[in-house]
């Protein structure tokens, strides 16, 4: 007796340890998938992927060509997932964050394309501390200019914000101050304006630099990069919008080039133009997982996982991954609650069908198939057929019922009738056969009770697996199935009373 008790404890103990281990493993694996593969806990999480294309066009003049193009670097905000250079005949390399393309001399109009795939890493957008830049050199202003600069700064003080903001706002003031207009260069390009502002900031010993970047917007074609001003204020580089003085990176903005370096340097050509275009594509975090795994140097684990399979095989597995949870529900219903159902897994298969048909249409369909099926089966009873041919005939009848319902459903545009095809035919036939035999042997009441109990079990299973988030989680974090396995095994050592037994044996206690 004591030995047996010990044995029982040991089995339970081992299973409990296995359960805890599997939970720890699942927890770690989930953490890993979320952080390195970018899986999320909710289904349908969309991630923005931007395809930014730079089109460099120039007129080659026959000399050896060297193109140097500033490229965006991966940051916390944006990760470069992939890049692609379309420049036939050019040698390409990436050097110090610049794309260098070289070629021997050519003639005529040249077009090279540089394409990058950016992943919008929302939620990870932080501020980066930068080393203190040296105090900027005083700009070479003559006395008159210095006087004007003082005047401008005096005017700027009327505007709100910190000093770079004040000056930017002054420059954008409508109508402009005459003093400002006088200070402006003749050719009023954004770049020239930015340089003036920069020099005015330098006058006040505020380091600043220009930054070029592009605003990621859906399907933006052929545009030049936007210019922004970065100023070193309060121990940090801050980005200022030159059109309104707003601080910070505008939403969906990516810096391509900063500081004094040019966006494009070209040797061996002239009339160069860089045009950008942006294409936004939305993809689920799943589809990105492979690329992110690559970034995390984790391709081997990912390639071995099921998320690297063709989509339709993934879908089949996705469907399969919900089975263990449904089986767990059935095991609980049978061993903890003690509901007697037709066949062990029949309710589970019904629940699976209900997920595909939808609850109400599925139930209506089930009721129709069962009613007609039982009527036909009642006719068979009189024919005294042998068992196998009889059940086979019921199968054929079920198929015919489903066929008629589908046709009628199509004719009358009813989704309800059309969903009949999702019911497992053989299972339906066996339910009809079982119900009919129980009906004959134990009466209509017991027969109906069996069907109702099976349906209750099916609905309980349905309630769990109809939730798309749960289905998604079981697929995305399939290691949870290991936890379920040990949970089910542990359930197999449960020797307590079933819920129905508390009622059944009620008369035995006073």
């Amino acid at each position: 007796m004591l030995y047996r008790l010990k044995q029982l404890v040991t089995i339970r103990f081992i299973l409990t340890v296995c359960l805890l281990l599997s939970m720890a493993y699942a927890g770690y694996s989930m953490y890993y998938k979320i952080n390195y593969w970018g899986f999320s806990l909710a289904p349908k999480t969309r991630a923005n992927v931007w395809t930014v294309e730079a089109d460099v066009a120039f007129e080659a003049d026959g000399n050896p060509i060297k193109i140097s193009l500033a490229t965006p670097k991966s940051s916390d905000e944006y990760k470069v997932l992939d890049q692609d250079i379309v420049a036939p005949g050019y040698d390409s390399k990436i050097e110090n964050g610049r794309l260098i393309l070289t070629s021997k001399g050519r003639e005529g109009v040249q077009n090279v394309y540089y394409r990058i795939l950016l992943f919008d890493n929302e939620g990870a957008k932080g501020k980066v501390a930068a080393p203190t830049p040296p105090t900027p050199e005083m700009p070479l202003f003559d006395e008159k200019q210095m006087a004007v600069a003082e005047e401008i700064w005096a005017l700027a003080k009327k505007h709100p914000g910190d000093m770079p903001q004040q000056i930017i706002r002054l420059f954008n003031q409508v109508p402009p101050e005459p003093t400002v207009v006088a200070f402006m260069p003749l050719k009023k390009t954004p770049k020239a304006t930015a340089e003036i502002i920069s020099s005015l900031l330098a006058y006040k010993q505020i380091p600043s630099r220009l930054a070029r970047g592009i605003k990621l917007a859906e399907n933006k074609q052929s545009f030049a990069p936007d210019l922004m001003l970065e100023a070193y204020v309060d121990g940090r580089w801050k980005l200022y919008d030159l059109s309104n003085g707003q601080i910070g990176l505008p939403k969906d903005f990516i810096i391509i080039q900063r500081g004094g370096n040019s966006l494009l340097d070209l040797e061996g050509g002239a009339d160069s133009v860089v045009k950008f275009s942006v294409l936004k594509s939305v993809t689920t975090s799943f589809n990105l997982a492979g690329k992110r795994a690559k970034l995390a140097n984790d391709t081997a684990a990912f390639e071995a996982s099921m998320y690297n399979l063709p989509v339709n095989q993934q879908n089949a597995l996705k469907w399969l991954m919900i089975f263990p949870l449904a089986i767990l529900v059935i095991a609980v219903i049978r061993n903890y609650i003690g509901l007697s159902t037709m066949g062990t897994f029949t309710p589970m298969l019904l629940a699976m069908a209900l997920v595909k048909t939808g609850l109400i249409p599925g139930l209506i369909c089930f009721a129709i198939i069962m009613t007609i099926g039982l009527l036909i089966r009642a006719l068979f009873t009189r024919l005294n057929l042998l068992l196998v041919p009889r059940i086979s005939a019921v199968v054929v009848c079920v198929i015919l019922i489903i066929q008629f319902m589908t046709i009628i459903g199509y004719r009358f545009g009813s989704d309800i009738a059309a969903s009949a095809t999702f019911f497992p035919i053989i299972i339906m036939a066996w339910i009809i056969e079982r119900a009919s035999i129980t009906w004959e042997e134990e009466g209509a009441f017991n027969s109906c009770r069996e069907i109702v109990f099976s349906m209750i079990a099916a609905l309980a299973t349905y309630a769990v697996i109809c939730n798309e988030t749960i289905r998604y989680i079981m697929f995305a974090f399939n290691e949870l199935n290991l936890v379920i396995l040990f949970l089910i095994m542990l359930l197999g050592t449960y020797t307590g009373y079933r819920l129905t037994e508390l009622k059944r044996f009620r008369p035995l206690v006073k």
Partner: protein
């Protein structure tokens, strides 16, 4: 709310205290520990059970013949030509499913004890259904067993609406520990299943007398159809009943089994069938928890006794 709950549901603690055995603990603690899987065929196949019983000197209804293949069904008239009354049952049946009792037959057909006429075609049909597994445990192909009809003793006549009650003994490690008889009622449709409304009568394991009678989980004193006083039941040849149960342990090696025993007017108690997974309704009929009793056997009952010694131990609390 709590009051309502406790009216319909017992607390697990109360059930534990009463030593009630639940399905899970029966399967996990008792059956899987005492009944080796390889022994199941001995009791699941009635032909094997019968042959074994003969070896161990246990009375069973005599085997007239068996039908294993569909084409043999036509041999039935030849098999039973010397037996006016016989029973057809599936070799792997359970719970009385597919049992057909024939009281008499002639050239035109068969007659059941209740007077229903069956044609040859219907009998062949029944055999055919049996062979194709309609009544068998797992639905697999089966054998139809033709056996002698028991000449039932009439002592139970008043107690049953239809059919003949049998005595169900629960035997644990060779000791008969609990007994009941199930009486069909009109409500149960002449069937002896308690959940269908048959009367369950718990029998005192020491005397074979009524302990308690229940119908649909409620105590009753008189049979609802015949009006017989249920408290007066006293099964004759009680020692012989217990002996059959005790011998079944040696015969099968099953540590936990159910033995169904009927009383023949001429030959005394006869074993009808054995069950390796007897149900728990016996607890309701007796108003007693089975687990408590089994634990007592584990703890206090001597081991390595002969069947006769075990029966005496049950009857008198000691070796005779």
């Amino acid at each position: 709310m709590f009051k309502w709950l406790s009216k319909y549901f017992a607390s697990p603690q109360a059930l534990r205290d009463a030593g009630i055995m639940g399905m899970n603990s029966r399967n996990f603690k008792i059956i899987s520990k005492n009944n080796r899987r390889c022994l199941y065929p001995l009791v699941d196949d009635k032909v094997q059970t019968k042959n074994l019983a003969q070896k161990f000197g246990i009375n069973t209804p005599r085997l007239i013949g068996k039908i294993e293949f569909q084409h043999e069904a036509k041999l039935l008239p030849e098999l039973v030509k010397d037996w006016p009354a016989f029973v057809i049952k599936p070799a792997h049946g359970s719970g009385g499913k597919g049992v057909l009792v024939i009281a008499s037959h002639d050239d035109t057909g068969f007659t059941t004890p209740s007077g229903r006429k069956l044609t040859y075609k219907e009998i062949y049909q029944h055999i055919s259904n049996t062979l194709s597994g309609l009544y068998s445990l797992g639905g697999q192909y089966d054998t139809a067993v033709i056996e002698e009809m028991v000449n039932f003793s009439h002592i139970f006549d008043d107690y049953s609406y239809q059919g003949i009650p049998d005595v169900r003994l629960i035997v644990y490690k060779g000791y008969p520990v609990m007994a009941m008889t199930r009486l069909a009622t009109a409500a149960s449709g002449g069937r002896a299943n308690l959940h269908q409304g048959a009367v369950g009568v718990g029998l005192d394991i020491k005397t074979g007398k009524t302990l308690k009678a229940v119908m649909r989980n409620k105590p009753i004193t008189h049979h609802p159809d015949t009006g017989a006083d249920l408290s007066k039941i006293e099964v004759p040849f009680w020692r012989e009943h217990l002996l059959i149960g005790a011998k079944a342990y040696e015969m099968t090696g099953l540590g936990y089994l159910g033995a169904d025993i009927v009383l023949d007017a001429d030959k005394g108690p006869m074993m009808l069938e054995l069950n390796a997974r007897p149900g728990l309704a016996v607890q309701i009929a007796n108003g007693l928890g089975l687990y408590k009793v089994l634990k007592k056997v584990d703890k206090y009952y001597p081991k390595k006794l002969s069947p006769e010694e075990r029966v005496d131990f049950v009857l008198y609390g000691r070796k005779k």
